[in-house]
């Protein structure tokens, strides 16, 4: 009876089954809707990581469990704990304007990875072998995620990887000062341990055809990412000293590049542009600028990334549109045009208008073009393609026009984030498994359990956010030949302290209207306007609460209602209620295995 304060019977689906005392599973749309509104961090995560649960586990010093709650849905907690784009933190309730700053969700994840004991228990349920096989093209985050899930669902999995090591963008697209290679290798190995066969250095479409794979395997999943650097399409792009961003990062990762010019201009607003710039500094550049068409707000990287880059001395040149790259034989600079920002696209991208007559030149001896990547075209082979030759598929079913051939990850969607690629890979795996066997293996459900109030102290609500410690002063980042990981990680004490800040939004507070005596002590003691005198509760089409219609007229008050979208779960109301009419339950969105029912 979570989403609806008045209904004597809540929207619990009838086909729920008990799991111990006071536990229910619900697949009612109203409950999913409730989760979206009220546990904002989990809903913001493309992989739907159960964030309150893992933070609570870490608070209880169960580092292994905390890691595992992550791993079962996002597979690479140690990696993501460093480089995730953190959509969850943007939605964290603690970050609402009057409540301070979001919980450092990502770095708590890293701490779970850093401090987990060896040999913790796996939580993934494994299914018996299905006798069917799947081939995956690409060992990046999407490919590895799909491989992992297909393996535990009982399939034989083979991955073909064009490079010499697995990991894709994780290994080749992210510099080692942000993601140490040993952490990455260990987490990839964890996936491969499930019995996945990995074939390195095989370029599908060149060394082996898709048709062959289609014939050998029950299904083929293309997860080969976006490796084609986009071009500025301006004169001079082929001059010596002009590099495509991704290739540049990959070359450095592979150890091919050891030096660079002194004065470097990087164009682009994403992580690749920042990676290129910071790598350039580490290779000896003295003056590095990132050139963007809009302004800083348009950068598609985290605030921390901008801060660290600036600390290292990188400049940001805004409102600058590259008109041509100058030089005779070798690059000598870029001619820019000033821009005037205009409305964004519906996708949120900045649009600009070049200003006539505002051309100016910035000198440079190296130019890196890091304005984005696209999937590589496939020559020939099955499946419908677009005009560039990129294989097409349905974004929901992952199916191409050829049965048995699937596409996922960035190859399907264009460049996204690691966490989105992982989620995409896992969903594709579920789909392939269903298509090959005709059964559903797992489903998402809302688990509801009676809960006593937590031991969270009210004073934890005002603890300041602990920022990630980084190596400072900046010169220590460039000390010697060894790679220095810039973010040094929380101590276990810092992680524990930060974990206290989480409100644990998976707790649901509710006033029992039948017991409430309308004394309003809860309102007097409320931390914010989270408990309301309500005239009417409006429900949406799923039956979830859409709006609480408040009233200031005492005669119109029909109930005292806790607005869970405003509630910070401080527990003050439960403590002061004289008639003990406020109940607390723990609600979690999680994936559970489905028991196959024999069909007569």
């Amino acid at each position: 009876m979570m989403a609806n304060g008045f209904a004597p019977e809540g929207p619990i689906n009838s086909n729920t089954e008990p799991e111990g005392p006071n536990v229910l599973y619900s697949t009612d749309p109203a409950d999913f809707r409730y989760m979206t509104v009220n546990v904002p961090c989990q809903s913001a995560c493309p992989a739907l990581t159960n964030i309150p649960a893992y933070i609570r586990a870490l608070y209880e010093s169960k580092f292994g469990l905390s890691y595992e709650i992550n791993r079962i849905v996002n597979l690479f907690p140690g990696t993501l704990g460093r480089i995730c784009s953190r959509p969850c933190e943007l939605k964290c309730r603690h970050g609402e304007s009057e409540l301070g700053n979001p919980v450092n969700i990502c770095h708590i994840k890293r701490a779970a990875a850093d401090f987990r004991p060896p040999g913790h228990t796996y939580l993934s349920p494994r299914f018996a072998p299905s006798g069917k096989s799947v081939c995956i093209v690409g060992s990046g985050p999407a490919g590895l995620a799909a491989a992992h899930d297909l393996a535990i669902l009982g399939f034989d999995v083979t991955i073909y990887e064009a490079c010499h090591e697995p990991g894709g963008m994780l290994r080749y697209g992210i510099p080692d000062f942000r993601l140490p290679r040993d952490i990455l290798s260990e987490e990839i190995q964890n996936v491969l341990r499930l019995g996945i066969s990995l074939k390195l250095g095989v370029n599908v479409g060149v060394d082996i055809s898709l048709e062959t794979l289609m014939a050998d395997f029950g299904a083929v999943l293309v997860a080969s990412g976006c490796y084609e650097s986009m071009k500025l399409d301006v004169p001079g792009e082929n001059l010596a000293g002009v590099y495509p961003g991704l290739e540049y990062v990959m070359d450095v990762a592979a150890g091919y590049k050891e030096s660079i010019g002194k004065k470097v201009l990087v164009t682009g607003a994403g992580f690749t542009a920042f990676d290129c710039s910071r790598l350039a500094l580490r290779l000896g550049a003295e003056d590095v600028s990132i050139c963007i068409r809009g302004f800083e707000e348009d950068l598609r990287v985290t605030h921390d990334e901008i801060l660290e880059a600036k600390r290292e001395g990188i400049k940001i040149r805004s409102l600058s549109l590259s008109k041509q790259i100058l030089g005779s034989g070798k690059v000598e600079g870029i001619e820019f045009q000033r821009t005037r920002p205009i409305e964004r696209t519906s996708g949120g991208r900045r649009r600009v208008q070049p200003i006539e007559g505002s051309e100016f030149v910035v000198e440079a001896d190296t130019v890196i073009v890091a304005i984005g990547q696209a999937p590589r075209p496939l020559k020939g082979g099955p499946g419908e393609k677009n005009d560039r030759g990129v294989l097409l598929a349905d974004r929901k079913t992952f199916q191409s026009s050829t049965p048995g051939l699937y596409v996922t990850g960035d190859y399907l969607t264009g460049p996204t984030t690691v966490i989105e690629a992982i989620a995409s890979g896992r969903r594709a795996a579920e789909r392939i498994a269903q298509d090959l066997t005709g059964r559903k293996f797992r489903e998402w459900a809302v688990r509801i359990q009676d809960f006593r109030i937590t031991d969270r102290d009210r004073s934890w609500d005002v603890l300041p956010r602990i920022e990630m410690p980084t190596v400072l002063p900046v010169k220590d980042r460039f000390l010697n030949e060894e790679v220095v990981e810039v973010e040094s990680g929380y101590s276990s004490e810092q992680a524990h302290e930060e974990s206290k800040r989480c409100y644990l939004c998976y707790l649901h507070y509710e006033i029992d209207v039948a017991k409430c005596i309308y004394c309003r002590y809860c309102i007097d003691n409320a931390p914010r306007d989270c408990i309301k005198l309500v005239k009417q509760v409006l429900l949406d089409e799923t039956g979830a609460v859409k709006e609480l219609v408040e009233t200031t007229n005492w005669l119109d008050v029909n109930a005292v209602v806790i607005d869970n979208s405003r509630c910070i779960r401080c527990g003050e109301c439960v403590r002061v209620c004289p008639v003990d009419c406020i109940s607390v339950s723990k609600v979690e969105l999680l994936e559970r295995p489905l028991v196959q029912e024999s069909k007569a």
Partner: protein, 338 residues
Amino acid sequence: MSVKRFVIIGNGPAANHAAKALREKSSESRITIFSKDPFRSYSAHLLPDFIAGLIKEEDLYNRSYAHYNEMDMNLRLGQRVVSVDFSKRNVILDHKEVVQFDGLIVATGGKPRIPEQFQLFQDIMLTLKTPLDARMWVEKLRNVESVLIIGGDLTSLSLTKALLKLDKRVKFILNEDSFWPVPLNEEIYRAVTDRLEQRGVEIVHCQRIRRITQLEENLLEVETDREILETGVLGAFFGLVPDVGFLARTGLDIDRGILVDEFLKTRFANVYAAGDCAQVYHPALRDYWVSIGHENATALGRIAALNLAGSHFEVRVEPENILEVGGVKVNTSWWTEF
């Protein structure tokens, strides 16, 4: 017809001249001025004189409280605007008050620029922008004899004059990072160092400052690429940046300052920016520029207010006063004054 509510953010010359012009044009309107600082409007150029003991603190302030009562303006000091919601047309204050407006002028001015690489040492460096900063200098100078200035802008030079009057030993680092608002070239470098040395200032030559360490309450150690220096206090002057951080992600176009057109209008109707926080593209300059200095601020404040009140005045600048710094052109007359 309901009374128009005008809100002005800032209490410097641009803000006050905007308020005055608004009152002239609309005697009925409600004018509210928000300033994050708890003190009245002051004359920034007098701060070094105050530090030198030539004037009293009261002399810094150039408008009385009674002035605002007479002009029927609600002056709200020490109350910081933290965001603006342009769809609901309200400003949100630090203490969680929401104030509706029909017209808004942002005139928050500039704040001392501390480059990111120096932010680590921010707590042990002094700047000079407000009477509060000046009071800190006065306090500090009671107990120290030697001062190291990283600087080159007008403020740092006039402060240096004040320090010499107080018989302090002054060392000066002039480098590219700190010189502002013109780019430092060899000619200017020589001219400025000569002048400083004539006045008894010791010039420290170096490329880069590596580390600043507080040894004792009144003793700092500064490590440059050439040597290690000791000083009682360190003043850091890297010029000013528009104080517009609080408007990030409100939908306004913010580069260095708030991007406005030649009428000082922003993207939103009846929302203007003026003074040191506005950034304008100027066709004659073929680039963006940010105004600095008292004269510009008062003129721009007035233009923004008149345009908000329905006029259509265009901003004019004299190209010879335009200088470039950090990719943005600035308008200043300080060089000729010096």
